[in-house]
Symmetry: C2
C-alpha cells in the first residue's frame, strides 16, 4: 500500500508510461487515499504542490492509468466518477446517505462462481459486489426524520 517514488516510476515504466511529476503526484494521492476520490478531489489535493496543474490533466492521467490497469473506476451512481488504486480483489460498501465508499476484503466474496442462466459463450472476466446501506451517522439522521425501522433485517437485493 506504500510506494516510494522509485517504485512508482518503475510501475509507470513497466506499463510504458512516462513518469512525470504531475502523474506521480496524482497517482500517489490516489494510492494513499481510501476515500475513492473524484477527479476533482485529486485535483484539489495535488494543486497546492503543482499550482499550474490542470483538471484536464487529472482526467487524462486517470484515463491513462485506467487503461494501463493501475486504477479502476467505481460507480455509485451517475453523478461523478470515483477512483480506486486498490488492485487486490475487493468489494465495496456504499452509504446511501453520505456516499461514502468502504473497501471490503472478505475472502468468502472472492469465491463466487459464474452465475447460472448465462449464454454459454459469455466469458466472465471479473465481478464485484456492491453492498448498499447506511453508516452509523446517516442512520441517526434518518431516524430523527422518520421514527421507524432500526431492527436487524435480512439483506435483500
Amino acid at each position: 500500500m506504500n510506494f516510494s517514488l522509485d517504485d512508482i516510476q518503475q510501475k509507470f515504466r513497466g506499463c510504458g508510461l512516462k513518469s512525470t511529476p504531475q502523474r506521480t503526484a496524482i497517482y500517489q494521492a490516489l494510492v494513499h487515499s481510501t476515500a475513492h476520490p473524484t477527479a476533482e478531489d485529486l485535483f484539489a489535493q495535488v494543486l497546492p504542490t503543482y499550482p499550474m496543474l490542470s483538471l484536464n490533466t487529472v482526467y487524462y492521467t486517470l484515463g491513462v492509468l485506467r487503461t494501463a490497469g493501475l486504477v479502476q473506476e467505481v460507480n455509485i451512481g451517475h453523478d461523478r466518477a470515483r477512483f480506486d488504486a486498490n488492485l487486490s480483489p475487493h468489494h465495496h460498501v456504499i452509504c446511501l446517505g453520505c456516499q461514502t465508499i468502504l473497501d471490503v476484503m472478505d475472502p468468502k466474496l472472492n469465491r463466487l462462481t459464474s452465475p447460472s442462466g448465462l449464454p454459454k459463450d459469455f466469458e466472465i472476466t471479473q465481478y464485484q459486489v456492491a453492498f448498499r446501506g447506511y453508516c452509523g451517522p446517516c442512520r441517526q439522521s434518518k431516524a430523527s426524520n422518520t421514527a421507524s425501522s432500526s431492527g436487524k433485517r435480512p439483506i435483500s437485493q
Copy 2:
C-alpha cells in the same frame, strides 16, 4: 412481468402517484424491456404514441418512479443512467464490449451474508453483484484484433 393498464393504475395509486397516459406508457415500456434502457431509449420508444412527449417528462417520471421504489437505476459506467423495473432479487452481467446488461437470477447469489470488517453500526439494506466480461459476438471481434486468451480462466475481481 405482464401488467394490464388497470394493474399499473393500481400500482401508481398505491404509491400515491397520479396515473397519466405518458407515465403509464413510460413505465410499460420499461416493464416490457429486458434491455435496461436509457431515458432516451424510453423516450424514443414512447414518442410515436405521444408525439408531444418531452424527454424532460421521461426523466421526471423515472425520478418519481425511482423514489416510489418501482424502478431502479443500474450503473455500468458514468455515461448514461440505465433503468430497470425488475423488482425481484437479481443481479447483472455486463458486456464490456457492447454494454449489454443481462439479468441474472441465480438463487445462490441471494444468500450472501454481511461482509466481515464492516463498522458494526453500518446497516446493509441491499446488495448487487455485477459480473463483467464479454458476450459471444464481442469475444469474436476482440479475438480478430488480438490473437490471445480464449481458454477458460478463473474469475477474478
